[in-house]
Symmetry: C2
Subunit: 148 residues, 2 copies
């Protein structure tokens, strides 16, 4: 059976503002990776940099629906890449629920618990930093998880 | 084998400020529960309220070491209560690493994955809200996870 990690948060901003923050290569630096190599578009491979850790990774954008949905794969090539789906649901009074689902694990696979916990940690942290950035203009909450 | 969930975050404040925020019944309302029934002390049972959800829960404080450590149990009575240990390690330049470990699960127990993910979500969110409160004075980042 496949295993997925889902995280949802309410952000008091219109869906358009949330969507724009996610794939704008400069805005992303305020709450997630330090920068992206380009604006996200379907079919594009984007390199995301984590300057603080001297690290970077690629994602492949699969689909985008303006202000509503983004689907991408972690890693530029190869089998077994995780698929991430981000959906935005705008509520009354210009607030939005952002939902992130990451999938591609199989029940019983080695190291499953550690992997899903690590990814869960990343999404909860990123969405909270995104909320702080969009609602309160805080641009410096990210990159403070201590991993070991 | 027992399973635990650990989360660590760096906060750019002295350990004393972090410690005080955690168990002060008013300050807690800025980043975690809406209020606590009393100041935390070893041996005390504290009722924590979540006004937004009309919910409340009890914890039993087991041990406290000023500005360094807090150990408590979720739930006021009964067997099988989870034990939470919070440790603060002050670094140079008035910054502190806060580490939270929750334990009491057994590998193979029913619903384990969902339970550890739910608790992981709670801790990452709470620590990020705590950081936003202490470093940037943001008091309204909490209570926005959407559970279903």
């Amino acid at each position: 059976m496949s295993v997925q990690v889902s995280t949802k948060m309410k952000i008091a901003k219109p869906a358009h503002d949330v969507f724009e923050a996610l794939f704008n290569p400069v805005k992303i630096g305020n709450f997630w990776f330090s920068s992206g190599s380009a604006r996200w578009e379907p079919g594009k491979v984007i390199t995301l940099k984590y300057a603080e850790y001297g690290a970077q990774g690629d994602i492949e954008v699969i689909a985008m629906e303006d202000d509503r949905k983004i689907v991408f794969k972690w890693g530029a090539t190869g089998e077994g890449r995780q698929v991430v789906t981000i959906t935005l649901t705008e509520l009354a009074e210009a607030s939005t629920v952002i939902a992130v689902t990451q999938e591609g694990w199989q029940e019983g696979q080695e190291g499953l618990l550690a992997q899903v916990l690590d990814n869960k940690e990343g999404w909860v942290y990123t969405l909270t930093c995104l909320k702080a950035y969009l609602e309160f203009g805080v641009t410096n909450l990210r990159a403070s998880l201590v991993k070991h």
